[in-house]
C-alpha cells in the first residue's frame, strides 16, 4: 500500500497540481489568476506525459556505449509541442487581459459583469 503511494509519487503530484489549477480557473474572479490556474493545470499534464515516458533504470535516449535502456523520447517530444501551445495560449490570454483592462478599467470578472449589466 505504502509502496503504491510512494512509488507513484509523481502521479500524485500530477493529480494535486491538476486539481489545484482547475479549481483556480473556476473559482477565481481575477483574470490573471485564472490564467495562472490554467498554466498550472496545463503543467500538470506535461508532468503526466513525462512520467509516462520514464522507463525504470532508463537513461536519456541518447545512443552511447554502455547503456541499453532508454526512456521513451516520444512523450517528451509531444510535450515540447504542448508547451509551445501552452505558451501561445498564455501570451494570447495576457494580451486579452491587457485589452480588457483598457476597455473596462478592471480585471475582476464581477466588476466587468456589473459594467456590462448596467448598460
Amino acid at each position: 500500500m505504502i509502496d503504491v503511494i510512494i512509488g507513484h509519487y509523481n502521479y500524485w503530484i500530477v493529480i494535486v497540481l491538476m486539481m489545484a489549477g482547475f479549481y483556480t480557473v473556476i473559482s477565481r474572479g481575477n483574470l490573471i489568476k485564472k490564467i495562472v490556474g490554467l498554466n498550472i493545470f496545463q503543467t500538470s499534464v506535461f508532468l503526466l506525459y513525462i512520467s509516462i515516458g520514464y522507463v525504470s533504470d532508463g537513461t536519456a535516449p541518447i545512443i552511447a556505449e554502455g547503456f541499453t535502456r532508454y526512456s521513451n523520447p516520444l512523450p517528451h517530444v509531444l510535450i515540447l509541442t504542448a508547451i509551445v501551445v501552452g505558451v501561445a495560449t498564455t501570451a494570447l490570454g495576457l494580451a486579452l487581459v491587457i485589452r480588457i483592462k483598457e476597455a473596462y478599467g478592471t480585471i475582476e470578472e464581477d466588476d466587468i459583469h456589473n459594467q456590462d449589466e448596467s448598460l
Binding site: V45, G93, L96
Partner: protein, 499 residues
Amino acid sequence: MIEQNLSLLLVVVPLLAAPIAAMLPNGRLPWLLALAVSWLCFILAAWQLMVVIDGDVIQYSLGGWAPPWGIEYRIDALNAIVALLVAAIAAVTLPYALLSIEQEINKEQLSLFYSVFLLCFVGLLGITQTGDIFNLFVFLEISSLSAYALIAMGRDRRALTAAFQYMIMGTIGATFFLIGVGLTYVETGTLNMLDLNQRLQPILEHRTVHTGFAFMVVGIALKLALFPLHLWLPNVYTYAPTAISVFLAATATKVAVYVMLRVVFGVFSNDFVSITPADDLFLLLGVIGVILASAAAISQHDVKRMLAYSSVAQISYMVLGMGFASVYGLTASIVHIFNHALMKGALFMAVGIIVYRIGSSRFKDMAGLGRQMPWTFAAIFIAGLSLIGVPGTAGFISKWYLMLAAIEQQAWPVALAILIGSLLAVIYMWKLIETLFFEKAEQHEIGQGVQQRSEAPLSLLLPLWLLVLANIYFGIETQVLLKATATAVDLLGVADYHE
C-alpha cells in the same frame, strides 16, 4: 501527381499564405490573397472528395516516415466531406468579408486580420486531414487560438470578454483532450488513429482506456458546445465581427463534431460505445439541449444571440445522431454537419447585412426593415425554412434521417423532442420574420452605423444567395452528399441497427 499530395496541399497552401498575408500592406491585397487561397483550397477539397467518394483512401506519410511511426494524413469520405465544407464556407465568407470587415475593423489591422483568418482556416482544414491524434490536437489549438484572436477584434468591448471566456473553456477542453490522448497512448503506444483503433480492440475493458475516453469526450464536448458546456458560445457569436460569426458558426463547431465522430467511432469503436454510457449520455444531453436551447432562443432580444442559441440546439441534433450509433443516426449527424453550415452561414450573413446597414442586431431596431431590404428578407425566410426543416430544403434531409433513426430504435421521447425542437424553431424564426416584415418601422437613432435603410451592396448579397440556393439545391438533389455520407458511415464501421 497532384492527386497523391492533395491532402498535404490543403494544409500547406493556406499555412504558407498566412505569413505572406501578414507582410502585405494593409488594404485589399491581403484579402485578395486569402480569397485566392480559399478558392484554390475549395477546388482541391472538391477534387479530394471525388477521389475518395467510392471508398478509396488517400494516404500521405509526412517526411516519408511510414505510419504508425510518422504522422500520416489519411483521407476517407468523412474527412473529405468536412474538408470540403470548411473550404466552401471560407470561399463564400471571404467575398462577403471584404465590405463588412472594412467597416468593422481598423484599417491598420486588415493584413493581420486576414493572416489570422488563414491560420484559423489551416487549423480547421488540418483537423480534417490528419490521421494522427496528437497532430489533431495541435491543429485544434491552431484553429482555436486564432479564433480567439479573431473574436477579440469585434467592435463591442464585450467581444474581449467573450474571447477570454472562450479561451478559458476552450483551453480546458483541449487539455482534457490531451489527457485522454496520453492515457490511450499509455495503453497502446501509438498515436496513429487507425493503429489506435486496432490496438484498442483487445483491451476495451481496461479502466485506463475508459478514463481516456471520458477525458477525450468531455474535452471535445467543450469545443463543440454540447449542452451544458455551451456557455461560451452565445457571447462569441454575438460579439465577434460578422464575417467571423459566419465562418465560426458554420465551421468551428462542425469540425469539432467531426472530431467527436472520428474519436468515438473511428478511434474507439461502436462496440466500445455500447459498453460505455456515452451513447445514452449523448441522447439525454441531446434531448435536453434541443429543447432548452431552442426555448432560450425564443426569449433573446438580439438576433445574433438568438441564432447562437439556435446553433446550440442544432448541434444537439448532431449529437443525438451519434447517440443512436446506427447507420441512420450517423448519416443524420454527418448530413446535418453539412446542411447546418449552409443554413446557419446564410442566416448569420443575412443578419450581418442588416448590421452593416443599421449598425445594430437588436430586434427592436430592425422593425419593418424587411420591406426596405427585400432580398435580404427573402434569404432569411428561405434559410429559416431550412432551419425549421421544411421539405424541399436541406434542413429537411437531416431531420428526416434523424427521425428515421429515432423510429428505427423506437425512441419515442427523442422523436418527440425533435418535433418540439422544430416547433420552437418555427416560433423563434417567426419572431424574426414578424419583426422584419409586419412591424411598423420606428424612427429612432441607433448609436453607430450609417443607418441606411436600403438594400445591401451586391458583394454582400451574392455570397448570401449562394448559400441560400445551396440550401434549396441540397434539399432537392441529395445524391452526392448521401453517397459520400454512406461511404463515410460504412468506413466508421457502424452496423445496421438490430433489436
